[in-house]
Symmetry: C2
Subunit: 240 residues, 2 copies
Amino acid sequence: MQVDVIASVNEARAIDLTHRTVIVIDVLRATSTIVTALSHGASGVIPVETVSQAKQTVQTGDVLGGERYSKKITGFDTGNSPFEYMVNDYNGKRIVLTTSNGTRAIQKAMKADHVLAGAMINAAACANAAYKLRKDIALLCAGTQDTFAFEDGLCAGLILAELYRCGENVQEIVTNDYGSMMYSAYRFHENNMVQALMSSSGGKRLSKLGYAKDVDYCAQVNVNPLVPILENNIMKPFNL
Amino acid sequence: MQVDVIASVNEARAIDLTHRTVIVIDVLRATSTIVTALSHGASGVIPVETVSQAKQTVQTGDVLGGERYSKKITGFDTGNSPFEYMVNDYNGKRIVLTTSNGTRAIQKAMKADHVLAGAMINAAACANAAYKLRKDIALLCAGTQDTFAFEDGLCAGLILAELYRCGENVQEIVTNDYGSMMYSAYRFHENNMVQALMSSSGGKRLSKLGYAKDVDYCAQVNVNPLVPILENNIMKPFNL
């Protein structure tokens, strides 16, 4: 099984995505938030690229969420902090979500056979689900404003480590050079993920904006078994 | 001092190179070979992008060297193995060199204030020279056919580690997220660089072609104090 890491959305070519399972990774914070929202009862998350698309898509009863420059968008119901989705109010509701990078990456991934949302919090479950789908895999790092983000690379390395555990032997999972790099970096930081995320550009930026507890939350490894999968443009909990 | 890693030539924008010292890294094998040729007495190495440019550039008394698909080019004097340059025959001679990736990266880097050639074998010397030039630095990974190469990333991480040692305090050297990633991966492999290089796509390819000893040689860390610097399109030994 080939498992390639794509370091940023700009580097994703159609040939790297088609006929594959793509795991989109935006640790700070889109994919962590999608996992959290669905595991707290939201019926689905609709990722859209722009603010105007979000406003066009939202229907009565839906929740309108998202951020620009890490802050809630004016007129929206809620932002992009996972803590904002740990509420009962959104139980059974659809979330229409637009974020700076994560939702764009999900849109780009739509060429794939299956699209999953991966984060530190659901890495093992996500690796297990992707492995069972029996397709080659692309780990698509969403990044920040078209550049590579450290925390997404670490998460790609973590998901690779979990895929190695799924494999029947060490030769079964084959990765590309970005994959080897992310895996090695993850192994260097595996016992201190909070500090690693706090040292990243994204972690520092969120901390300055008062979201340090979001970084702490998103740095937790394998604490959530929920795997979001895209079905008809809506992220829903995947039932294997 | 800002020290940014650029993961492949395709990602290098002019703005990332101008007013900087650029260290071009092509561990397997262009920059390792340039260091070796100069430290064995060649008077200079002229990096050119294409075979026809090489043929146009070469003058009587010069050596014509290079590779395509890792093999010597038909009609050329020599290939791109560092061992081919450990001879007395090239003493005082200019080498006109064309390789698949490394020489293209050097051409691209020419927008910079200074261009150095970095490899595992001269990493500490190269970091020291770049630090003393007092400009911000870009570590440009040459990669393989427009994609990131693991061994170049590890070498970027090693050079970053050496730059951290040059810095007067831990805050002086600031890197981007690719830099954090390459540094972490280097630290994971620092005690077993030969094995790391042998596990890379480039290392495997060279081994298959009978160049395993080249990989062993290029994996040696800080064994050569020579730093090539580009002066009027010729790589020459840098005298600080």
